[in-house]
Amino acid sequence: MSFIEVSSLLSIMPNLHLSVVAGKNGLDRHIVTTDVNRPGLALAGFYKNLASKRVQVFGKGEQAFIQDCSEDELERIIAEFFKYKFPALIFTHDTIPPERFIEAAEKSSTPIFRSSYSTHDFIIQYTRVITEELAPSTSIHGVLIEVFGVGVLLMGASGIGKSETAIELIERGHRLIADDIVKIRCLNNTQLYGYTSELIQHHMELRGIGIINVKDLFGVGAIRQSKRLELVVYLEDWDPSKDYERLGLNEETVDILGVQLERLLIPVRPGRNVPILIETAAMNFRSKLMGYHAAKDLSDRIASQIEKKSGSSKK
C-alpha cells in the first residue's frame, strides 16, 4: 500500500506554508489515504466511526469549540482524543492551538501543523497533491518521448535501438521525457503519466558514444519533465515466422497499472527507418483521436464498392 511520511508534507506542499507546532517525534508517521477528516463530532464526544487514519483538519468551527470550552471540558476532550494515533493535525487560518493541546501532542508524538491557508483552500490543495503522491506507480525500462504531442513509450530488449531511435526523433524536433527508466503514475485510474528521475534526467546512453546530456546538446525545447502516456511501441528483431500487423484494424492493447494503452509492435531490421515509423504512428494516433481512422475508412469504402459491384452484376 502506498504511503508518504508526514514529514514530507513540508517539502511537497511548500505553498501551503506549513509549520510544525508540536509532535516532531511523530513526523515519521504514515499518511495512507487522500481523505481528510474534520473532527468536530469527535471533539463533541461522538467517536463512533472516527476516521483516525486520516489527517485531522481543525477549521474555524473546531478551533472555536476548543477555545470556548472550559478547562475541565478541554481536559476530558484531550484525554479521549489523543488516545488515537492520528498521522497529523492541521490548524488552518494560521491559528496556534491551545497550550494543553500542544502538550498532549508532544506527549503522544502527534504532529500538529499550522497553515496560513483557509480551511477550504487547504483541503483543496492538500487533496490535489496527496492524490498525486499516493497514486499507484511503477518504473518501466523504456524511453518516453513526446512525438507530435503524443506521449510515446518505446519498449524492447536492451540493445534493440530505443535510445538511438529516440535521439533521431529529438533531432527531428520531438521531446525526450525519460531514457531507460520511466517512472509512471496512474491518476484517477484512467490516466498514466510518465516522469523522469531527477538524478539522471535529460541523460541518455548511446552505445559507442556513451552518456550524453540531451538538454545540453539540443536545448530546453528538446526535453520535458513529464508527459501523459498515450501510445506504447514495442521494438523487436524482425522474426520471419511472426505475423506483423498489416491492416491496423485490430488494436492491440497493453495493461499498465490497470490502464489499457494502445500498443504497436514494430519489427526492426537493418535498413528500416524506425524513427519515421514512430512519427507516422504518432500522427496516425492523433488522426484516429480526431475521428478519422484510415484503415477503417478504406475498409468501409471497399466494402461498399464490392456491394455496388455485386449489386450491378445481379441486375
Binding site: H141, S158, G159, D179, I181, L199, M204, E205
Partner: protein, 85 residues
Amino acid sequence: MLSKTITISMKEGMHTRPAAIFVREAGKFQSEIRLTSSEVTVNGKSIMGILMLALGEGAEVIITAEGPDEENALDSLSEILGGAV
C-alpha cells in the same frame, strides 16, 4: 528465477566505471537481470538504471537473474558487485 542479496564492496560504490563494467558483463547473458535497492527495481543491463540507484559502499542490493543462463549470470555478476560468491 534466482535472487541474491549483495553488499556493495567497492570503495566508491557503483559509480560510472564499475557500473559500465557491470553492464558490459550483464549484457553477455541471455537472462533478464534486475537490481533492486530500497524498493526501486531497475534493468541490470541498463547503465542509467544502475546509476540512478546511486549505490554506495556497504549498500544492500538484490540481484535477480531470470533465463536459460541465470545461474552463471548470478554468480558472475554477484562477484562484480560484492566480491566472493
